[in-house]
Symmetry: C2
Amino acid sequence: MNDAPSTSIHIAVPPSPAAAYDVIVEPGVLERLPALLAERAPAASYAVISDANVARLYGTAVVERLQSAGLSARLFIHGVGDAAKTIESWSALADELLAARVGRDRRVVGLGGGVSGDLAGFAAATLQRGVAFVQVPTSLLAMVDASIGGKTGVNTKHGKNLVGAFLQPRLVAIDPQVLRTLPEQELRSGAAEMVKHGAIRDVRHLEQLRDDAAAVRQGHGAALHQLILASVAIKAAVVARDPLESGERAVLNFGHTVGHALELLTDYRLPHGYAVAIGMVAAAHAGEAASITEPGTARALRETLAALALPSSPPMPLSADALLAAAGTDKKGRRGRTRYVLLRRLGEVAQPPDGGWTFELSDDIVRQALAALRPAAAGQL
Amino acid sequence: MNDAPSTSIHIAVPPSPAAAYDVIVEPGVLERLPALLAERAPAASYAVISDANVARLYGTAVVERLQSAGLSARLFIHGVGDAAKTIESWSALADELLAARVGRDRRVVGLGGGVSGDLAGFAAATLQRGVAFVQVPTSLLAMVDASIGGKTGVNTKHGKNLVGAFLQPRLVAIDPQVLRTLPEQELRSGAAEMVKHGAIRDVRHLEQLRDDAAAVRQGHGAALHQLILASVAIKAAVVARDPLESGERAVLNFGHTVGHALELLTDYRLPHGYAVAIGMVAAAHAGEAASITEPGTARALRETLAALALPSSPPMPLSADALLAAAGTDKKGRRGRTRYVLLRRLGEVAQPPDGGWTFELSDDIVRQALAALRPAAAGQL
């Protein structure tokens, strides 16, 4: 036996197998969920996770339908709203799931808005180091955004989504019919992310959103069904190329730098979609001021947002200084500098000459953009 | 725009890139950690995580050495012992890391025994959905077992390691010199997992452990260095073939079905390695009783364990009924039935004819094996 001072063993872990899943957009799909789950995510048992509102509207019926079809299923209920997206809620949920012996041979089904999906997904990601997961989003925002792409997690006092995991679902089942019961404010909030998808990738999607704004605002109709599909397709294409958010996925943050700052400054009273809408207009103005974005882009964006009854300017005066400071705490910032996704024109993001997907902007440019949000009171938002 | 009742979008997420990392076994490697980290895991800053004991013995010095080398580093301290491996500790740690703005451009370094590695690893896995992680194990058990293979997590009241994540480290740096300060009971506990590695894969490793038992029990010497390397190599080969524990990795549970039951029944007062040692003897007796394991295997295993001052029978009488019931709650059980890893002979696991890596045994066979643990008081353990 020799006395080698150092030896090293190399461990090569093979790549995890490619994950592939379908996003099914189908009116009435909630009713055929038993057959769909049995086929696409077969399991000994299903743990359906919802908040109390969704449980009453759909959760109890879904679980009864699964049981009637001979599947073992149980409903788990968490608190309502973003206030429930905490480590404590996740921990309580994990505890209930473990008490019910939900293990690797079970499936976790997140049924509800983004909070349910993120909370249920993080529970699935961490229970016995990973239980297979199905998303059944019931809000427009969750359908076109939160349920696609495998992000799960909770908020902490330090910021949103700062603790979490990536877990690709086995299936996303979207029933546009449930949108009939969604409050108009939530429909609009989801529509903002759809506008974002058009703005970064497909100007025709943007035009369609403007033309079919009534269907979006009312939450029903074949046009809305098609618009959801188109938005899912755009988000799916981006996340499939960058599943762990190491590059291109940054384009999905268009409007989110200023958007997050607005949410922070309004103590999250401003709905996420409204904040993103205003943030997108700010980013368009900033891009135009920096001669990166085609002139007229901000104006066209405002028109689409107006058709969807979405705001283009903040609901109350806010100082540019406070907004710049709040934008600096966005976790997407690289090495502490605030970075912005900018458009080249509607339907196309701009890329900086050094590659990458985001731009660093001078405070002057950002101030100009913020001032442009409310021409009537320049200098103050 | 048509009115198609259902449409589906297929998302194909590419496989995550193959993870590859080195396990470096080198006396004195703690002293050259700054150069090693700068080369193998370069980052803006390092968050070193230890319990209070390891912090005092090594943590403060490691952080000072990193700082002297011009690296930004900070020490984070968690509670001592398995009692600290909880959701609450993880949550407090995540909170401290977030307060210190540890994000994706930082590295988390777990410096300590299995508790530090599992806790720091789970924090790294969940902070902003994943921060790169380095393992610097300081107990023998962590060196040869816990630090290799990417398992992270915490215990809950429902059982051990029931909440966690897989996160492959970027590097594992093992300094055998720190074992000089490890209590003999902890050295023995680690040695039990080394015996397991020999028992399932390499009879020569088992013989070497018996021949060099003194070096293991004293915690120093070139022989111990080589034995650690050999154990790491065996564990590394298994986990590289089955990183997410979907099959072959089950062989690492040899001795753990009865072992976990003993831990449960003794309220975790029995050290893990001692429980595994007794569990391995039980599994060998069970395999012999079922005519799956070569006769004489249990006896040879007992001799090796005795040389390492490890027990072959439980420290107090325990009823076979209680042990069978406790074994049934092992989370490795498939669909609730208790399954056992069995040897064909020393150095080789048996595989059931249907493939797979575990056997279901009749209660009678298990009772026979448990009785054989203490021939003097058959029927009672």
